[in-house]
C-alpha cells in the first residue's frame, strides 16, 4: 500500500512549530537549579512529539537532532542532571537550530550544516560531562543467527501463562502469523487443563509445541512472540537432522548485528514516487507548497455563537416573511372594502417594523461574531517577548524583569501578524536605551532590576498596547539638539515636552552615541511608526527623565471594518477614520491667525494648530476665503493636532474597507474606499497623506 505521506506534512509542520513555541516559553519559565518536573515534562513531551513525527514523515535530520535534545531533557526530568543556566541556554539555542531545520524541510531549502554541527557539539558536550559516562551501548546484538536461504525446521515450545489472554493477545493469531513464515504443525498439550467445574473462562490452560518448516530466521519467530515474551515460557530450537542445538544461548552463534537505523526507515512512499514514476491517479503533479496563513484555529465557542446568531436570523426572517404574507392577504381584504382591515394593517406594520429592528440587531451581532473568528489573543505576539528579554538582558548585562498583562486581549489576525516586528523593535529599544545597567540604577536610587511592562487592553473599538519601562527616560536636550542638527526642526520652534519626545519617530533619527547591535540596526523608530500607521494605528511616547518611558500603540480591532465620520467636500462624501479624529468644531474667525504669509493657524484653547483646507488639497476651487463658521475636523497627525476644513459633517458609520490599490491604484491622500448604505462609493481619507500633500503644495507657493 503506497500512501502519499506529504499530505500530512503541513499538519506536522504546524504542530512542530507550535511545539517549539511551547518548548521555548516553558524553558524560559524553568528555574535553574531544581527545575520543576512538570515544566520539564511539558518540554520533553513537545520534543518527543516532534521527534516521533519527524521520523515518521521522513525528516531524519530533525528526528536525530531532537533525539539529542530529548536525551538531555530526559536526564533533567529523572533528576540525574542538574538544570543549569548553561543547559537551558543551550536548549534555547537548539530550538533555534531546530526551527531552522524545520523551516528548511518545509520550504525544501537548505539548512546551515555548520550551525547544526556546532549545536550537536554543544549538546553532546553537555551530555558527556555527566557523571555517568556515555550511556551503556544500546546496540545489544540481537540473536539472529542462522544463515537464511535454506529450509529449516524449528521447534517452538510455547507455554503461555494463564493470564496471557488478559492483555488482548491471542495464540490463534500468533499461529496464523507463524503460518505465514512457513509450514506449521501445532500439537496441543492439555496437561494443565483443569476439570470443567474449576475452569476460569478467562484463563488459558493450554500449551503448544509447534514445528515450523521454512526458510525462516529465528528473529522472525521471536517477533511473533515479541509482545508475550514475559507472559509465557518460550523456547525456539532448530531441529537439525545433523546436530540439533539449543539456540537459547547466543554466545556461540555467529552474531549478525544490524545498526538500528537501517531497519527503521524505509523512505516514505511519497518520496520514492516523486523521484521515479509520476503517480498516475488523483495526485497533484507537484508537491504542494505550504501556503502561509492558510488556516486559522477558531475556538468552538465562537463558532457556536455564530451558529446561534444565524438561528436567530432565520427566526427573524420567518417573522418578516409571515408579516409580508399577512400584509398581502389583508390587501385583498381592504380591496373588498373591509373596514377592520385598516386596523389590521397598522398591526402588521408594527410587527414589520419590529422585525426590521430585530434584523438590524441580528445583522450587527452576526457581523461582530464573524469578525471575532479572525481575532486571536495577543499572547501570540507577547509570547515572543520573554525569550527576547532573556537573551537581550544577558547580552547587555542588564537585569530586567518582564511583566505582561492582558495577554488574552484579542486582535485581528492580520494586525497581529504585522504588529510583531514593531513590537519587538520597541522592546529592544526599551531594553537597550531605556533600562540602565545595574550600577547606574543603584546609583540613581532605583532597584537593581529594571521592570519592563507589556500591557494590552481594549478601549472603545481599539486595542491599546503599552510598552513601559522604568529606565532613564528620554533625554529631551539630546533629542532636541539632534533633531536640530538633522534639520528635522529648527532652533526657533517652540516645542512641548511631548512633541520633543515624539521627535524620536522622525525619519533618520537615532540618538545612541554608540550604535549597538541590539537596536541600532539602521532601522529607526520611524519605521516602527510607519508600520503601525500602515495598520491604521498610532504610536506615541510619553517619557519622564530618570523615571522611564511609555510607548502607547493604538490599533484598530480589525483591518476590514472601520468606524468612520462621514464628511462632504465639494459635493462628494468622504469617510474620515474615527480613530484619527480628536474633535470637530465650528470655526470662530477670531481664533484664526495668519503666519508667515499664507499659512493659517487656529488657536485651539492654548495651542496653535495648522489649518488645512480639504478643498485645496483635492485641487478644488476654494470659493470661501473667510472661514468663519466653517466646519473643522481636528485630527491627530504625528502626535500633533491638525484642523481640516470640510464643507459638511454627516453621521458616523461603520464601513467595510475596500482596497484602492487592488482595485485601482495607490492614491496619496486616500487609504481606501467603501460603499455606503445608499450604494454610493466614498473614499476613505488618509490624514497623514493629506497633510503631506498640503505641505508640498504650500512649499510650491
Amino acid at each position: 500500500m503506497s500512501i502519499d505521506m506529504s499530505q500530512f506534512h503541513e499538519a506536522f509542520f504546524e504542530e512542530s512549530f507550535e511545539g517549539l513555541e511551547i518548548m521555548e516559553s516553558e524553558l524560559l519559565t524553568l528555574d535553574v537549579g531544581e527545575g520543576d518536573v512538570e515544566i520539564i515534562n511539558t518540554i520533553f513531551r513537545a520534543a518527543h512529539s516532534i521527534k516521533g513525527g519527524a521520523g515518521t514523515f521522513g525528516f531524519m535530520n530533525v528526528s536525530e537532532f531532537t533525539h539529542v535534545m530529548e536525551t538531555l531533557l530526559d536526564e533533567m526530568r529523572d533528576g540525574s542532571r542538574d538544570v543549569t543556566q548553561y543547559a537551558v541556554d543551550s536548549l534555547l539555542g537548539s530550538i533555534d537550530v531546530l526551527r531552522a531545520m524545520l523551516e528548511a524541510a518545509r520550504d525544501n531549502g537548505d539548512v546551515d550544516e555548520g550551525m547544526v554541527a556546532e549545536r550537536y557539539a554543544i549538546l553532546n558536550n553537555i551530555l558527556n560531562k555527566g557523571d555517568e559516562a556515555a550511556s551503556n551501548s544500546e546496540a545489544e546484538p540481537v540473536g539472529a543467527a542462522v544463515t537464511p536461504g535454506i529450509a529449516q525446521v524449528w521447534q517452538i515450545s510455547f507455554i503461555p501463562h494463564t493470564d496471557l489472554l488478559m492483555a488482548g493477545n491471542d495464540p490463534v493469531r500468533m499461529f496464523r502469523a507463524l503460518s505465514e513464515l512457513g509450514e506449521v504443525q501445532a500439537t496441543v498439550d492439555l496437561a494443565k487443563l483443569l476439570p470443567f467445574n474449576e475452569l476460569v473462562p478467562e484463563d488459558l490452560y493450554l500449551c503448544w509445541t509447534v514445528t515450523l518448516a521454512g526458510d525462516t530466521l529465528k528473529a522472525d519467530i521471536e517477533e511473533v512472540f515479541e509482545w508475550v515474551e514475559d507472559d509465557c515460557d518460550l523456547s525456539i530450537t532448530l531441529l537439525d537432522d545433523a546436530e540439533p542445538r539449543e539456540l537459547g544461548s547466543d554466545n556461540d552463534s555467529p552474531v549478525v548485528s544490524t545498526p538500528p537505523q537501517e531497519e527503521i526507515t524505509p523512505p516514505p512512499a511519497s518520496l520514492k514516487a516523486e523521484s521515479t514514476v509520476p503517480v498516475m491517479e488523483n495526485s497533484p503533479t507537484k508537491p504542494k507548497k505550504p501556503t502561509e496563513a492558510a488556516s486559522i484555529r477558531v475556538g468552538i465557542d465562537k463558532v457556536d455563537e455564530i451558529i446561534n446568531l444565524v438561528g436567530e436570523l432565520v427566526i427573524t426572517q420567518s417573522m418578516l416573511d409571515q408579516a409580508g404574507d399577512d400584509l398581502e392577504a389583508n390587501a385583498e381584504l381592504s380591496a373588498s372594502g373591509d373596514s377592520a382591515s385598516q386596523k389590521i394593517n397598522a398591526d402588521i406594520l408594527l410587527r414589520l417594523s419590529k422585525g426590521l429592528a430585530q434584523l438590524e440587531r441580528n445583522t450587527r451581532e452576526l457581523q461582530d461574531g464573524v469578525m471575532r473568528i479572525r481575532m486571536l489573543p495577543i499572547s501570540f505576539v507577547f509570547s515572543r517577548m520573554p525569550r527576547l528579554v532573556h537573551d537581550l538582558s544577558s547580552k547587555l548585562d542588564k537585569k530586567i524583569e518582564l511583566v505582561v498583562h492582558g495577554e488574552e486581549t484579542e486582535l485581528d489576525k492580520t494586525v497581529m501578524e504585522n504588529i510583531g516586528d514593531p513590537l519587538v523593535h520597541l522592546v529592544r529599544n526599551a531594553l537597550d536605551h531605556g533600562v540602565e545597567i545595574p550600577e547606574v540604577r543603584l546609583a540613581a536610587g532605583k532597584p537593581e532590576t529594571g521592570i519592563l511592562n507589556l500591557n494590552a487592553y481594549h478601549q472603545g473599538g481599539n486595542v491599546i498596547i503599552e510598552i513601559k519601562d522604568d529606565g532613564a527616560g528620554i533625554n529631551k536636550k539630546k533629542v532636541l539638539a539632534k533633531a536640530i542638527e538633522k534639520g528635522i526642526v529648527s532652533s526657533h520652534d517652540k516645542l512641548s515636552d511631548d512633541e520633543v519626545n515624539n521627535l524620536i519617530f522622525a525619519p533618520g533619527f537615532s540618538t545612541a552615541d554608540v550604535v549597538s547591535d541590539v537596536s541600532g540596526r539602521g532601522v529607526g523608530m520611524d519605521v516602527v511608526k510607519t508600520s503601525i500607521n500602515k495598520l491604521g494605528g498610532r504610536v506615541v511616547v510619553q517619557s519622564e527623565e530618570g523615571k522611564g518611558s511609555v510607548f502607547t500603540i493604538r490599533l484598530p480591532l480589525t483591518l476590514a471594518i472601520l468606524d468612520g465620520q462621514l464628511v462632504t467636500v465639494g459635493g462628494e462624501s468622504y469617510v474620515v477614520p474615527l480613530i484619527a479624529i480628536i474633535e470637530s468644531l465650528q470655526v470662530d474667525r477670531a481664533q484664526i491667525n495668519q503666519v508667515a504669509g499664507k499659512a493659517e493657524v487656529y488657536k485651539l484653547r492654548d495651542e496653535y494648530i495648522p489649518i488645512i483646507r480639504a478643498r485645496s488639497v483635492f485641487g478644488l476651487d476654494d470659493g470661501v476665503d473667510d472661514l468663519h463658521e466653517s466646519l473643522m475636523v481636528i485630527v491627530e497627525v504625528d502626535g500633533a493636532p491638525v484642523g481640516i476644513i470640510v464643507d459638511e459633517l454627516q453621521g458616523q458609520q461603520q464601513v467595510v474597507i475596500k482596497s484602492l490599490e487592488t482595485n485601482y491604484r495607490k492614491v496619496e491622500t486616500m487609504s481606501g474606499a467603501t460603499i455606503l448604505g445608499d450604494g454610493t462609493v466614498a473614499l476613505i481619507w488618509d490624514v497623514n497623506g493629506m497633510v503631506g500633500v498640503h505641505k508640498k503644495k504650500s512649499h510650491k507657493n
Binding site: G52, T56, M166, R173, E202
Partner: protein, 120 residues
Amino acid sequence: MARILVVDDSASMRQMVAFTLKGAGHEVVEKNDGVEALTSAKTESFDLVITDVNMPNMDGITLTKELRSLSNYRFTPILTLTTESSAEKKMAGKQAGATGWLVKPFNPNQLLATAKKVLG
C-alpha cells in the same frame, strides 16, 4: 472490517494512522488525548485501540490501565505507539495491560502489518 480508536495529540500522526487504516477498509475514530478516548470508549465499542504514549491530560499508559478496568475492554487489543525503543518503556505499556506496541517511526505498511497481527 474493524472499528479502531486512534488516540494521539499530534494531528499529523493521528491523520496518518487514521488515513492508513481507513485505506485498508477500517472504520476509525480519532481522539486527541486519553481523557477524550476514555469518554468515547465508555459509550462505544472498538475492536482495537491504538494510542500514543506521551499525551497531555491523560497519557497512553494511564488510558490503557483505565480501559483494562472496563469490563468490555478486558480483551480488546491495545497497541501503544512509542518512540522509545528501550525495553523499559515498552514494558511500561505492557504492564499497564497493552497488547503490544509499535515503535515510531513506522511507515503505513508496518502499521497495517501490526494491526493485522492483533485483528487476525
